[in-house]
Subunit: 338 residues, 2 copies
Amino acid sequence: MNIGEIARRAGVSRSTVSYALSGKRPVSEDTRRKIQRVIDELGYRPNASARALANGRTSTIGLVFPPAGNHYTGMQLDFIGSVAEAAAAYDYDVLLSPSGADSDRSFQRLLGERRVDGAILMEIRLEDDRVDHLAELDFPSVTIGRTARPGGVWWVGLDHTALVEACVHHLADLGHRRVAFVNRPEQLLRAGYESAHRGLDGFTKAAAERGLTVGMYNCGDDAASGQTCLERILHDDPATTALVTLNEAALGGLYRGLAKAGRHVPRDFSVTGVVAGRWAETVTPQLTAADVPAEEMGRLAVDLLVERLDNPHAPARHHLLAPPISLRASTGPVFGTS
Amino acid sequence: MNIGEIARRAGVSRSTVSYALSGKRPVSEDTRRKIQRVIDELGYRPNASARALANGRTSTIGLVFPPAGNHYTGMQLDFIGSVAEAAAAYDYDVLLSPSGADSDRSFQRLLGERRVDGAILMEIRLEDDRVDHLAELDFPSVTIGRTARPGGVWWVGLDHTALVEACVHHLADLGHRRVAFVNRPEQLLRAGYESAHRGLDGFTKAAAERGLTVGMYNCGDDAASGQTCLERILHDDPATTALVTLNEAALGGLYRGLAKAGRHVPRDFSVTGVVAGRWAETVTPQLTAADVPAEEMGRLAVDLLVERLDNPHAPARHHLLAPPISLRASTGPVFGTS
DNA sequence: TTGAAAGCGTTACCAT
DNA sequence: ATGGTAACGCTTTCAA
């Protein structure tokens, strides 16, 4: 059943049905009711493909995230969920594209075949060919995270540098002098992942300012790697009394390593970092951390994208978030101090 | 740029370009090369909407999951990721629909506007109006989970009953006599969630068989609820020595509650349940559990759906999985026994 | 082996 | 306030 059928049964033209539906042209109250009745009766809904073809808008936004095999983090989940729900509130659908690079087939389909009106990109790299490509095409998009030179692109991001600095200062204030940094996997660092780089910058800078002795580690995105990583930390410098981590997925393993090594948190070892709030709360003791406001970020990204779609010539906007550290139970004064 | 432009530049007709692309009709090697060169030169890709309108296929599958606010579980993440990746392998895109009920706008859009060729549904209820509606329309779909009467529908599911029974027997074999069951939130049980119901059935049955003294609890999908729930368990029956849980998100809280109550796992309290493997491994001690093979299930669901799309009259198929219990470190003989 | 043209189901412009 | 009709960009039947 199509718009023609509705028109026939309502005794009007197809254009009138179209206008009755879109409201883009006044329709008499009378015919509008007639049309509505037929529509309700038949449960008619306009075909999305035909509509997209005719008016050039798909009412769909693409969500581009890296294909992670089975190594998704909780944060990614939160982004995906919040983007989908925020988009639904605007009556946009979300098309998933597991693409880490400009060349991925799914990414190419998204753009080339005009499947979406705009896109939201996750897991941004400092130099990101996907972002460059999109900018070049002037394709409406918003990134969750920002590249090295984010001028002209729309984004919502986290100030990882400041966040990690705050973590380091928090530890230094508690008297810690030997602190380890647990970063995302080396492969992601090398690929130029924003959070890994900026986090590392913040750590390096703050540690230097406070004159700390440090160790820097890359750690796989899973519990087993976390445990191994912690063993290396204590092996490299048994006098380490604290760590800051960006690696949410490794957190459980980090804790386990600590327990195995007989270090009690927070009595003789402090742990902090930047992690989505609900994951910070699953570990015991609960993690003192800068909570990644994943839900808010997803929502903001959608808001921004919708704004950009509605107003193609608006100047680039962005949101840089720097949530405060939530004091929970995983940090304390260094043993022997205070 | 469109197919007409390509045709013009290649000096052929539009249909020839179309056939050169689809291969549905022989095209001379010569013209095919001419066409391909123009296509490469201009980076042409056929418009998805136009193509969908003309041939009735969108090359998109819908993934329907309940809008959870911010209470997604890790398992849901794993499903979404694995479905997206499996679909990409077939060159299908995945459209997200946060819909818990037949009446959700997003769900209605999906079907009514013909945005997708088929759908995969998550978080199935025993009586599920979404599934009924889809079956009624004979709309190609596969459910992850099965309804009370899954005859005629395509699904991939977990044998929650058997899984939970296995957990109970495992505990009973270890000598536990007083065992608690930590289910999903009451609201989900009342809504008829499959896992909550079948899991409960399995628990009840096995506990009766082994003559266990039991407590049954519904628990919110977060760490705080898990902790509260555990307090209630020990308050209701301090002699409880073990629990089995379906509630992945509460796991961290359950462990914390145990620690707070001074119960050491597994020395004086055993914990088991059914949980995605990687979450079972983040807690310490690692959880002995029936690992939900989320990745495999997502992949199987896509395989099934693609098969159904390719062959509309194939009889309904399904996969019922019952992974074995992975022995890790959270269960042991009841205190005083050996 | 190729071309012409009729759809596919909308929208939106041009009339009236 | 409404109707007719030409797009939108592709696929596919019919002809040659």
